[in-house]
């Protein structure tokens, strides 16, 4: 792998990280903490939505985020032929 390819690979990786970490920040810090009172006016069955994000929803999203990351990176590794 030459250094131009390597830079391209790294750039795509950073792009994925930026997107996934924004979602990570959104569901926990924004929905679960900063906007919790506003979201609590919306209901999800027996839950207030903000409370649900803080105690359930954010955790589900975290799990999904890592599995999405695994898929994206496996594809990226294949594309640049750095998979094993």
């Amino acid at each position: 792998m030459n250094s131009i390819e390597q830079k391209k690979y790294w750039k795509e990786n950073l792009k994925y990280l930026a997107i996934l970490l924004s979602i990570w920040f959104l569901v926990s810090y924004v929905f679960g903490i900063l906007l919790v009172d506003e979201l609590n006016t919306i209901r999800l069955g027996g839950f207030k939505l903000g409370f649900w994000f803080a105690q359930q929803g954010s955790i589900y999203v975290f799990v999904i985020l890592i599995f999405v990351y695994i898929r994206l990176m496996n594809r990226l590794d294949k594309k640049y032929n750095v998979n094993e």
Binding site: W24, G46, F47, A54, Q55, F62, I66, I70
Partner: protein
């Protein structure tokens, strides 16, 4: 059969299992001792990481903390799971590619400096020792409450078990026992939760029961909010902590989780980079099962507790109430002599004190579940405490034998010699941990929570910058770690222990002086930010790292070619 007999049977079976696994998976080289020969399957590693991570505190205390704190308890739920996203995306794959044995290994090599290595070793020892003392204490508590042996004997039994499989098997033995321990602890946690969820909501899945209604058709959360309002407590679904503090505590716990050496080192045990990513995903999935159930248990047990005791005559209390009274986890003082329990927020008139640990320990009894389920909780608590203790002990022993003896004191030591040193340091570490388990210094509980702040303030920035900022040099990294950890220690001593203002009694009065209104638990985030800033500023004014080091950084960013672990 009574609870006592059931408990002995279940604890006996699980302990035999752990010892059996240890004998089957003995370590024969340092590679096996430190990182299980780098051949662990990602799902097995995910299971082991989950058990490694979920300590006595997660198993015994967390649901109780949430039960009493309501929304405030969310910091632990988000903090202790969100850190895995950081681990998976920012650390695990790169550290695995780097291919060494320990976290100080990475710091020492990446920052081409034994000084950096020593700073990292000291941070690792400080974090791990404070944490392991808490685990041994947890072992003692479970033994004394469920088996009526005294605490010292309980801790010694726990020490012997851990000693056996950690010393014999090293990381290899620990990994496979942790897989078994995860199964034991999750079973022990879920069975009572499912039973209670069915009892209270008719739904067997606690995560759904959490948002369902009880037999009277009212949503449980709304009902509990109402009960809390009536008794003067703050509403369950809204918090009492300031938003700033909740934000910073959550961040400190997340970053601290990603910086804990005993968690990071688990990702060194898999075969390739993509497996490191996969195990982070599996680990979080297995952790999430417990972490999404805990808040449901918190709700169920809080509602159960209030409905059972509030405004009821003391003489009509069920048997579990009396039993836990003798252990002083429940204390009733009839202040107005009316024979009725007033459980209210107002400290002047409140007559009942309930220890939060009871929410998990006594929950099955409160719900009237069969004896074998009650006994299961003891086996689960022990599995949680022992698995975490073993992981920490391995970090301590490898810090001594590998980072100090092999890398600094005697680089010519043979593999066999290093293995002996590793085993000996594990023995010493178990004894020290056991000593603190028997004679817990008053500050253990407080310090365990702060171990996250220390990890966040020291390791996390040094590792992340080492991977993502090629120009980061040793001057910047060392200055950042030293400033970060000292700042954290200072804030902790000042506001948690009141050292500079006349001791523990001053702590309450110092709250108004918290910087930006941030508690010591959340200060790790500030110290981490300071660490980042100091590192970057200093690196701008000092020489860039040598070319070979920059090449290492290029090398770890590409997944292919992660060979076996090397010294």
């Amino acid at each position: 059969m009574d609870i006592q007999t059931w408990t002995w049977i279940l604890v006996g079976i699980t302990f035999t299992l752990y010892i059996g696994i240890a004998i089957w998976s003995r370590a024969s080289s340092t590679g096996e001792f430190y990182v299980a020969g780098k051949g662990v399957h990602p799902i097995a590693n995910g299971l082991a990481t989950a058990a490694d991570w979920m300590s006595a505190a997660s198993f015994i205390s967390m649901a109780g903390i949430i039960s009493f704190g309501g929304y405030d308890g969310s910091v632990y739920l988000m903090g202790w799971t969100g850190g895995y996203v950081l681990l998976a995306l920012l650390l695990a794959p790169y550290l695995r590619k780097f291919g060494k044995f320990t976290v100080p290994d990475f710091i020492g090599d990446r920052y081409y400096s034994n000084k950096a290595r020593i700073v990292a070793v000291l941070c690792a020892l400080l974090v791990s020792f404070t944490y392991v003392a808490g685990q041994m204490q947890g072992v003692g508590i479970v033994f004394s409450r469920f088996l009526e042996v005294d605490r010292t004997t309980g801790v010694i039994i726990g020490m012997i078990i851990v000693l056996f499989y950690a010393v014999l098997g090293g990381m290899k033995g620990i990994t496979y026992t942790q897989v078994a321990q995860y199964c034991v602890l999750i079973f022990a946690f879920m069975v009572p939760a499912i039973f209670i969820s069915i009892q209270m909501t008719g739904n067997p899945i606690p995560q759904i029961g959490f948002g369902s209604s009880g037999t009277d058709g009212v949503y449980l959360l709304d009902k509990l909010d109402g009960l809390h309002r009536d008794l003067g407590f703050h509403e369950y679904t809204t918090g009492s902590k300031s938003k700033v503090d909740v934000f910073f505590i959550t961040a400190a716990l997340m970053v601290g989780t990603a910086g804990l050496p005993h968690v990071i080192v688990r990702f060194f045990t898999v075969k390739k980079v993509s497996d490191a990513r996969k195990s982070a995903g599996w680990a979080l999935l297995f952790i999430a099962i417990l972490y999404t159930t805990a808040p449901a248990i918190a709700l169920f047990s809080r509602t159960n507790l209030i409905e059972t005791v509030s405004n009821k005559p003391y003489d009509e209390m069920p048997q579990w109430f009396k039993k836990w009274e003798t252990t002083e986890l429940i204390e009733f003082t009839d202040k107005n002599d009316d024979g009725i329990i007033q459980y209210v927020a107002n400290k002047e008139t409140n007559e009942l004190n309930v220890n939060r640990d009871i929410m998990v320990l006594a929950n099955p009894e409160i719900a009237g579940l069969p004896n074998w389920v009650i006994a299961l909780v003891a086996a689960g608590g022990l599995a949680a405490a022992l698995s975490t203790a073993a992981g920490l002990l391995l970090v301590i022993s490898s810090s001594v034998s590998h980072d100090i003896i092999k890398k600094i004191v005697n680089p010519t030591i043979s593999d066999k010699g290093e293995l002996v040193a590793a085993r000996l340091s594990a023995v010493v570490a178990v004894c020290v941990a056991g000593y603190f388990g028997v004679n817990p210094p008053g500050f253990v509980a407080a310090v365990v929570a702060l171990a996250f702040g220390l990890a966040a303030a020291s390791f996390f920035p040094a590792i992340v910058l080492g991977i993502f900022y090629k120009k980061m040099n040793k001057e910047g990294a060392i200055a950042g770690m030293v400033v970060g950890i000292l700042l954290m220690l200072f804030y902790m001593l000042k506001f948690k222990f009141g050292v500079f203002d006349g001791g523990k009694t001053a702590v309450e009065g110092l709250k108004k002086d918290w910087w930006f209104g941030i508690s010591p638990e959340g200060f790790g985030t500030v110290a981490m930010i300071v660490n980042f800033m100091v590192s970057i500023v200093i690196s701008k004014f000092t020489p860039a790292p040598p070319k070979e080091v920059q090449e290492i950084v290029d090398h770890i960013r590409i997944p292919s070619g992660a060979g076996d672990a090397t010294h």
